[in-house]
């Protein structure tokens, strides 16, 4: 599916540019994309290194395993393939907590750590495992208590009640998360691997 979407966006984009006499835009936009990819990656180096360093400390001190033990029963029905003592539980829980609190910066490094640990248990290293897909479904649809960025933008735009969207966001993310879990469960049953 990814391959189809990728080639669709690229070809339709080039076609539209050609038909609207805007073909020059394709070259500059392709080069910009390459540059932006590197820039985003470089920007991520700092924040990912910082949080992964801190996470290593928390791990060695035993904090992560305590957190994992406390929260594992809540999410364990969603990950039937994952071993009880897998190190991934801690990272998954930390990532979801960071997402719920709206700490996007901290969520990404915890999530990447979780993916590395899930990859350790993946029998087919080039193919996504079921646990990985469940984790990403939770991660992208995760309930948000504090949508920090958008509250900031509302304050900047002079809103009388910048936080009034917390309730609506909570409702929408709860619906999305519920459906993501359901969709994942249905696909999981059809795809055994």
């Amino acid at each position: 599916m990814l391959n189809a979407i990728w080639v669709f966006m690229l070809c339709i984009g080039i076609l539209v540019a050609a038909l609207t006499g805007n073909i020059g835009a394709v070259t500059s936009s392709a080069l910009n994309a390459a540059e932006l990819g590197v820039k985003t990656g470089i920007q991520l180096i700092g924040v990912i290194s910082l949080w992964m360093g801190l996470m290593r400390l928390a791990e060695r001190a035993g904090i992560v395993s305590v957190i994992a033990k406390v929260f594992r029963p809540l999410i364990s029905p969603l990950f039937p393939d994952l071993k009880r003592d897998s190190p991934a539980w801690g990272s998954i829980v930390m990532n979801l907590c960071a997402n719920i609190l709206g700490l996007g910066n901290a969520a990404t490094p915890f999530g990447l750590k979780a993916m590395q640990e899930l990859q350790q248990e993946n029998p087919h290293p080039d193919t996504a495992s079921r646990s990985m897909i469940t984790f990403l479904a939770l991660n992208t649809s995760c309930i948000t208590l504090v949508p920090a960025t958008i509250i900031g933008i509302r304050i900047a735009a002079g809103s009388q009640q910048p936080t009034e969207i917390i309730g609506t966001t909570l409702f929408a993310t709860t619906c999305a998360m519920f459906c993501a879990i359901l969709a994942d469960w249905l696909f999981r049953r059809r795809n055994s691997l």
């Binding site: 996504a128 609506t168 999305a176």
Partner: protein, 180 residues
């Protein structure tokens, strides 16, 4: 409420930066070495993501810059009018299409909507809710799978996009109910 939220966001990171090293030191963990070791791992991970990011951004950027995204939005608009939706909702279609593709792009669109219509208008509230309630699915999948070298995503994209779509519908419904 406002106070609590701002205080939590301001305090949580300094609190973690204080508590984790202090506790680890007390547990006799070699804290500096452990931190550097973890950070080195993070460094490698971030570098590994870059080729995947370039590939994904290439397709998205060409699609947006060529005007194809605008054509798609224009094509969807009459469909929603036919469905009898509140015409005001049509203003957020570009945001809905942009949201799973590009985080910075979507943030740009929602900031512009909030500033144009006012943060406390119907469109402003809807754009805020949509921005806060879904994620940049393509970016997340690219980065997370890229970091461990996974090339076959299987049904991950479908699940992510279904969640985005439900988040969108739920946002429109709840904002219409409460503020419509």
């Amino acid at each position: 409420m406002m106070q609590v939220v701002t205080q939590v966001t301001v305090w949580i990171i300094p609190a973690l930066l204080f508590l984790i090293p202090v506790y680890a030191y007390w547990r006799k963990v070699p804290i500096y070495e452990s931190f550097v070791e973890g950070a080195e791992d993070g460094f490698k991970t971030a570098i590994k993501i870059i080729p995947f990011l370039i590939g994904m951004l290439l397709a998205i950027q060409v699609f947006v810059d060529s005007g194809a995204l605008k054509l798609l939005v224009d094509a969807l608009t009459p469909l929603f009018i036919k469905l009898g939706w509140n015409p005001e909702i049509l203003n957020v279609i570009p945001l809905a299409v942009m949201r799973p593709l590009s985080g910075s792009g979507a943030l740009g669109v929602s900031t512009q909507l909030i500033n144009t219509f006012g943060p406390d208008s119907f469109v402003g509230r809807l754009a805020s809710t949509m921005q806060g309630s879904s994620d940049t699915t393509f970016f997340v999948l690219t980065v997370y799978f890229g970091a461990v070298g996974i090339k076959k995503y299987r049904y991950a994209l479908k699940v992510g996009l279904i969640a985005d779509f439900i988040g969108l519908i739920a946002s429109i419904w709840i904002v219409s109910m409460l503020f419509g």
